[in-house]
């Protein structure tokens, strides 16, 4: 591991769901650039949970023949001994869960860093029984509702339709985890069409809705196996790792056993929220 001492003004602590990740780089300009992307999720951790040293490299269309190949669009997440290695055309990251230290070699793009942080959280959450899910999350009446589905199903739309006083945790990527014998949804900085980070708060998870557009608003129960399929289909994970994949499967089964997972068919108007509010636990 190439631990490099960095001046403190080139550090950035990002806390999502109570997991603090410290990023260290020698570029104040990059720190300033990524600060906006993670607004609301920055702080100063006395003891960060994970530390990453970032080495910024110029964008090289032909790669450098080593770890970064700009032609490679697919994400590869592999376990290499005790370490995880994450590779895409614009970055290579390596992380040791035991030492909680890693390094990232990447082009100076906030988008690339956003991807690394997302993938890191898929790995961390899987081990904690949780998941990052392609879903929007909205808090109403002290409870969180999660809305998932294929691209275009209405994840952003339904969060836009949420009544005043609703709190948007994310319109793109939901952070879900069992805590204190209950599942909680946490806000994330990962944004979709809204283009802004979610609110940094948590709420007990009241339910997950699999979205479908229709002419009327209705809620239908899903059989348990369909619920598990829906959770699996929308959980973000990349690792080609049997143990981790099985863990993700078991996490989906556990969540479906405890959290109502239903289909929400909705017409795109705000009245759908009357139906959702009536479904409060």
């Amino acid at each position: 591991m190439n631990a490099i001492a960095m001046p403190s003004n080139c550090e950035l602590d990002i806390g999502i769901g109570g997991i603090w990740v410290r990023l260290r780089t020698d570029s104040p300009a990059f720190v300033a650039e990524i600060s906006g992307r993670f607004a609301g999720f920055l702080g100063k951790a006395n003891q960060p949970d994970h530390v990453f040293d970032i080495e910024l490299i110029p964008f090289m269309p032909d790669g450098d023949g080593d770890e970064v190949d700009a032609h490679m669009d697919a994400v590869h997440v592999l376990r290499s001994g005790a370490r995880w290695q994450v590779r895409r055309g614009d970055f290579f990251a390596e992380w040791d869960p035991l030492s909680r230290h890693g390094r990232i070699r990447m082009v100076p793009s906030p988008y690339s860093l956003d991807s690394v942080i997302r993938i890191l959280h898929t790995l961390l959450l899987a081990e904690q029984g949780g998941m990052l899910m392609h879903a929007s999350s909205v808090v109403r009446g002290g409870h969180a509702w999660v809305f998932t589905g294929v691209s275009g199903a209405g994840k952003t739309t339904i969060s836009r339709l949420a009544p005043p006083q609703s709190r948007i945790l994310t319109d793109e990527m939901s952070f879900l985890r069992p805590e204190e014998d209950h599942y909680f949804a946490h806000g994330t900085p990962f944004s979709g069409e809204l283009g802004r980070p979610g609110e940094n708060l948590r709420a007990p998870l009241a339910g997950v809705f699999l979205l479908a557009k229709g002419r009327e608003n209705r809620i239908d129960p899903l059989p348990r196996t369909e619920a598990i399929r829906a959770l699996m289909a929308n959980t973000l994970y990349f690792a080609r790792d049997d143990a981790l994949t099985t863990r993700v499967f078991d996490n989906a089964i556990a969540m479906a056993a405890q959290v109502p997972v239903r289909r929400l068919t909705f017409a795109p108007d705000a009245r759908v929220w009357d139906l959702i509010d009536d479904a409060q636990p």
Binding site: R224, M232, T245
Partner: protein, 102 residues
């Protein structure tokens, strides 16, 4: 396929019983399958050592009202389908497990 067919649960496959259903996930590509009752019987009995015909005779015929020859043919067809999806391994001689399902 010869008369002697042996079936073995594939490694790197996770099987979880959800209520009355058996869900199978391939750890390789995360594909999910729900096995019906007959397929679940084959899965449970697929130890690599018991001939398929014996599995049918002992576990399927007592449960389903079906002609033995038809039951065996259906079981062969089902086993082949499960093998094509990487859930089972087939052989014409006993199969030795190379690792437990995950």
């Amino acid at each position: 396929m010869t008369d002697s067919v042996y079936i073995l649960r594939s490694p790197n496959v996770a099987a979880r019983r959800i209520g009355d259903e058996l869900m199978i996930m391939s750890a390789h590509d995360s594909s999910l399958f729900s096995l019906n009752e007959t397929a679940a019987i084959l899965w449970d009995a697929a130890d690599g050592m018991t001939p398929l015909a014996e599995i049918v005779r002992r576990l399927i015929l007592p449960v389903f009202d079906i002609e033995p020859a038809i039951a065996l043919e259906d079981a062969r067809s089902l086993a082949l389908g499960l093998a094509e999806r990487g859930i089972l391994q087939l052989g014409d001689s006993p199969l030795v497990p190379r690792g437990d399902p995950v």
